[in-house]
């Protein structure tokens, strides 16, 4: 996805008309966009390769090197899946809700994930952690989360209260309720059970099982490509309900379509690695700053690349500098939060 855009942008462009309405109207804006994509691409490749090669005892390129790299490669694929899911889902969700300071996790995906994990451990003990692992269980969690989201959307967007704000509010309340129930159950666990559970409640790339990937990769790619293909319609949705209806877009249908795809992406990401509350919000905001354009077809690739860079960078640092495998979400929230504040304070607008 990122590659196609990059090549389309870097390819020979027809001489632009003197007055252009394109998303990147000037040569300067186009150069800037190309530079951003190139820098992010290099960073992504660098961190990706770094994760495979750093501390790899075998010489680069040898048979043994690739054997070790292959084992680490799973993590890299997981990161790519999470990057695509979080980035695309958040950008899409922010557009249909017309709100730039929320993430789709507000709809209770993560609370649901935590509740499922906690319930399993609560009733089955330490064995419960094992009981919710495996491909069928993974699929079941996906169905549960997407089903939950669609129920909420469908009920709230088609009924008497067809109002996005009400839907968000109810999503928050249900999420909060689920979180409280989970916290209560966690209180009743034995310390050892709690310890095992806590490890799964941090967003962690190593949570993912390679056996989930055959299901996760196609779902993630499918939903992301569908959203990306509808970029031009999303641009119109961003104008708001009335303006987009006036321009002939079926606003409700488009909203439902996007929300469905968002819920698939969020479910895949959450069921794969656990909660990553802040990541999507961070990269969506950064992507808008980096791209300097409103057009989704330019924002999506930058968001995905940014997300991959943040994720793999954080993972690289945690693994090779702090030797603290597994708590990637902590460093993302810390460093990401600081970067985020810096960008916002410098630019002064979202």
């Amino acid at each position: 996805m990122a590659e196609t855009t990059a090549s389309r942008v870097t390819g020979p462009l027809p001489a632009p008309p003197a007055r252009s309405s394109g998303a990147l109207p000037t040569g300067r804006a186009r150069r800037r966009y190309r530079t951003v994509v190139a820098v992010l691409g290099v960073l992504a490749a660098g961190f990706g390769f770094g994760l495979l090669a750093w501390d790899n005892p075998m010489p680069v390129g040898s048979d043994g090197f690739w054997r070790i790299a292959q084992m680490r490669g799973t993590n890299l694929v997981v990161m790519a899946v999470v990057a695509i899911c979080q980035a695309v889902a958040t950008v899409g969700f922010q557009t249909v809700t017309g709100n730039r300071v929320i993430t789709p996790s507000i709809m209770g995906f993560e609370a649901l994930y935590v509740a499922v994990q906690t319930t399993a451990v609560y009733f089955l003990g330490v064995a419960g952690v094992v009981a919710v692992q495996g491909l069928p269980q993974f699929a079941l969690q996906l169905v549960l989360m997407v089903g939950f989201a669609m129920l909420l959307y469908g009920w709230l967007l088609s009924g008497r209260y067809a109002n996005l704000q009400v839907m968000l509010l109810i999503g928050i309340v249900i999420g909060g309720g689920l979180a409280s129930v989970s916290t209560f159950m966690q209180r009743l666990l034995t310390p050892s059970e709690f310890d095992v559970l806590a490890a799964r409640l941090f967003g962690n790339v190593s949570n993912a099982d390679a056996s989930y990937l055959p299901l996760a990769v196609p779902l993630c790619l499918g939903a992301a490509v569908l959203l990306w293909a509808g970029s031009r319609r999303l641009d119109v949705v961003a104008l708001g309900r009335d303006a987009s209806t006036g321009l002939g877009l079926d606003h409700r249908r488009e909203t439902m379509r996007v929300l469905f795809l968002v819920s698939v992406l969020m479910a895949v990401s959450t069921a794969l690695v656990g909660p990553m509350t802040f990541l999507g919000f961070l990269v969506a905001t950064l992507a808008y700053q980096f791209t300097g354009a409103h057009a989704h077809r330019y924002v999506f690739p930058v968001a995905v690349l940014t997300c991959f860079v943040v994720l793999s960078g954080a993972y690289f640092v945690m693994r090779n500098v702090f030797y603290a495998n597994g708590v990637v979400s902590i460093i993302i929230e810390l460093v990401g939060g600081l970067v985020f504040l810096f960008v916002i304070l410098r630019k002064g607008r979202l």
Binding site: R19, S21, R232, R233, V236, A238, G240
Partner: protein, 251 residues
């Protein structure tokens, strides 16, 4: 021609609009006037299919707005609400280019760019076309939205209180632009106005709405009389002869 027959909209047990029967002929500027809460904006937004009807039929140039696909209707009628939340990262030109969406589905051709340029020049936005929307004053932004609606190139243009928040100069300018839209571009403009004097001076037809019903429909000469306006607005109105036509004095 826009035809409303038996149109009803119920908000709650007590507040209801209609049944309204109205025929707005092709061409010219038609102003919808009336007291607050009379239902002017509701009628306009229902005609622009932004709001569903509870009963009745609205037809624009023979297209039933409830049945015609929104996509096709967007080539016949364009509609602008009074409040538009705006995207800060859009330039004026990019906003105006959205008006071409019904025709090009977002892939602008050279012909589309030309239409966009014309709409921008028509509203004197040429110098502002590369500014971002959050760098504009309220009046300029309002003009940018009107330019977007014009670049949609529909025969019917519906505007909900386009003079809202505009000062004297910009209000008069906007009305002159709308007159030119009707005369030079031969579009049918329907506009909700608050100031009866603007309606009296710039409109070809005035439609007075009160308590959810159309109570008067006619030329400015017919409507701009003390007796009619007093009845419609439920406040004493005297119409005097001003230097440029009749003037309603209500204070």
């Amino acid at each position: 021609m826009i035809t409303l027959s038996g149109v009803r909209k119920e908000y709650s047990g007590e507040v209801a609009i209609g049944p309204v029967d109205l025929r707005i002929p092709r061409g010219g500027v038609t102003a919808l006037v009336g007291p607050n809460g009379a239902g002017k904006s509701t009628l306009l937004t229902m005609t622009g299919r932004l709001l569903g009807l509870d009963a009745g039929v609205i037809e624009i140039a023979g297209h039933d707005v409830a049945r015609t696909p929104s996509k096709d209707l967007a080539k016949v009628v364009s509609v602008l609400r009074q409040e538009n939340h705006f995207v800060t990262r859009l330039t004026v030109r990019q906003l105006v280019a959205f008006g071409r969406f019904p025709h090009s589905r977002g892939r602008l051709t050279a012909a589309d760019e030309e239409v966009v340029s014309r709409a921008i020049d028509f509203l004197d936005l040429g110098g502002l076309e590369n500014r971002y929307l959050d760098q504009l004053s309220g009046g300029q932004r309002q003009r940018a939205y009107v330019a977007m609606v014009l670049s949609q190139e529909t025969e019917y243009v519906l505007l909900d209180e386009p003079l809202n928040n505009l000062d004297m100069r910009h209000s008069a300018q906007m009305m002159r632009h709308l007159r030119r839209v009707a005369e030079e571009l031969e579009r049918t403009v329907v506009v909700v106005l608050h100031d009866i004097n603007f309606a009296g001076h710039y409109a070809d037809r005035i439609c007075a709405v009160k308590d959810g019903a159309v109570v008067e429909f006619g030329t400015p000469e017919e409507i701009m009389t003390g007796e009619v306006l007093t009845r419609v607005f439920e406040t004493p109105v005297t119409v005097v002869d001003g230097p440029r036509g009749p003037l309603a004095v209500y204070y």
